[in-house]
Amino acid sequence: MDVLLEIFQTTFVGFSKAAWQTIQLTFWSLLLGIGIGIIFAFFKISKYKVLHIIADIYITFIRGTPLIVQIFIIYFGLAQMNIVTLEDFTAGVLALAIHAGAYIAEIFRGSIQSIDKGQMEAAQSLGMTYPLAMRRIILPQAFRRSIPALGNQFIIGLKDSSLVAFIGGKELWATAMTTAADNFRQFETFFINGLYYLVLVIIFTYLLKILEKKLDVEQRGEAT
C-alpha cells in the first residue's frame, strides 16, 4: 500500500499532464466524430442512392478494421505516400474521429428513424419545409433519444484514445508505459494508470446523467 501511494505521488505530475492530453484527444475527436456522424447519418437516410453507398462503404471499412490499423495508416501511411505528414496529436484526433464517426452515424441514423413519422407530417402540415422540420422538430428529439447510446460511444472513445500512444501521443497510456519502464513498478504504475481512466469515465458518466436529466429524456422523448 505504501508503495502504491509512493508511486501515485511520484507519477502524479506526469499522469495529470497526460490525463489532460487524453481529455483533449477525446474531446476534439468526439466533436469532430459527431460532425462526421451527422453527415453520414444524413447520407444514410437520404433518397439519393449514391450517398447511401458512400456511407455504407465508409461504415463497413471503419467498423471492419481495427482502430490501431486506421491510426497507423493515417499517421505513417499518409506520410509515406507523400499525401500529408501529420503531427501525432492531429493524426490521433483525426483517426479517432473517423473511427467514432462511423459508429455515431449509425446511432444518429437509428434515432432519427425512430421518431414517429407523424412528427414530420405534423410539421409539414403547418407549412414547414423538410429542412426546417428536420432542424426544429426531428433532430432535437432524435438527439435526446441518442444520448444514452452516444454516451456509451464516448466512453469507448475515451479509452480508445490510449492507442494514440503508439504513434507518439503523450497521453495516459504512453506515459504509463514510459514510467513503468523507468521505475520497474509495472503493477502499481498500470494500476494507477487504470484509475485515471476510471475517474475520467466516472466524471463523464456523471455529467451525462445531469444532461439527461436536464433534457428530461424519458418523458419528453415519448411520442405524443
Binding site: A123, Q124, S125, L126, M128, Q141, T224
Partner: protein
C-alpha cells in the same frame, strides 16, 4: 374553396382512391363517413399533399396545385390538419408548439405570436396549460392543443382526420365542442369521423365513401333519413 376532380391514388397495386370529385365552398363543413379502408383518410391526406395523387386535379382557392411545381409548404400554410394521434411536438411546451410555425414559417414576431397563441389556448379551454409539456396532458387536451396549433397559421380550411378516434369516450365531447365552435364561426372544414351525431348536427354536407369513391353526398337529413344508395343504407344500419 376546394375543388377536386377525378382523384386517383394507389399504394402499389392497391388502388385506394378510384376517382373522387368534390367541391367544398367557403364555410362549408363536409363530413366524410364510411367503413375503414374506404379511402377517407387517404383522400384527406391528399388534400394536404401528405400523399400525392396519381391522377386528377386539386384546386385550392381556384389554384390548381401541381405537386411537382407548386411549393407544397406554401399550400399547406392554408390547409390546416388535425391528426388522429395529435402529433404534438413532445420536446416543446404547449405554447412553443403553437408559436413554432407562425414564428419560423410566417416570421411573425415572437411576442405577437405568443399573444395570439394564448388567445387560441383560451378558445380551446387550455389557457392554464400554456407552459406544460404535452406528456402531462390528457388525450382530449392534446387534441385541443393540436387544433390550436393548426389554427395559429390562420388556415383557410381545416382537415380533421378522425380527431376523436384515439380518445377515451369521456374525452370525445370536449374535442367535438371545440370543432362545433369552429364550424359556427364559419371555418371551412373537412372532417373524417365515426361520430355520426357530430355529422348530423354540424355538417352542411355528409359524403359517404366506399371502395375509393364518394357513393353519395347530401345534407345530413337526406343521408341519414333518406339515403338513396343501397351501400349507404347498409353502412348506416351497421353504425346505428
Amino acid at each position: 374553396m376546394i375543388r377536386v376532380k377525378n382523384l386517383h391514388k394507389s399504394f402499389g397495386s392497391n388502388e385506394v382512391l378510384k376517382g373522387i370529385d368534390l367541391e367544398v365552398h367557403e364555410s362549408d363543413v363536409v363530413v366524410l363517413i364510411g367503413a375503414s379502408g374506404s379511402g377517407k383518410s387517404t383522400f384527406l391526406r391528399c388534400l394536404n399533399f401528405l400523399e400525392i395523387e396519381d391522377e386528377g386535379e386539386i384546386y385550392i382557392e381556384d389554384q390548381l396545385i401541381q405537386p411537382k411545381s407548386t411549393p407544397l409548404n406554401k399550400v399547406r400554410e392554408k390547409v390546416g390538419m388535425v391528426f388522429q394521434h395529435f402529433h404534438l411536438f413532445p420536446h416543446k411546451t404547449v405554447l412553443e408548439n403553437i408559436i413554432e410555425a407562425p414564428v419560423k414559417v410566417k416570421k411573425i414576431p415572437k411576442k405577437q405570436a405568443e399573444t395570439e397563441a394564448l388567445a387560441l389556448l383560451k378558445k380551446v379551454g387550455l389557457a392554464e396549460k400554456a407552459n406544460v409539456y404535452p406528456y402531462s396532458l390528457s388525450g382530449g387536451q392534446k387534441q385541443r392543443a393540436a387544433i390550436a396549433r393548426s389554427l395559429a397559421m390562420h388556415p383557410k380550411v381545416m382537415l380533421f382526420d378522425e380527431p376523436t378516434s384515439a380518445l377515451d369516450p369521456e374525452l370525445v365531447g370536449e374535442v367535438l365542442t371545440v370543432m362545433k365552435t369552429l364550424a359556427q364561426e364559419g371555418m371551412t372544414m373537412i372532417v373524417v369521423t365515426h361520430e355520426m351525431s357530430f355529422a348530423r348536427e354540424v355538417a352542411d354536407w355528409v359524403a359517404f365513401m366506399d371502395q375509393g369513391k364518394i357513393i353519395e353526398i347530401g345534407p345530413p337529413q337526406q343521408i341519414f333519413e333518406d339515403p338513396q344508395e343501397a351501400r349507404t343504407k347498409e353502412f348506416l344500419s351497421r353504425v346505428r
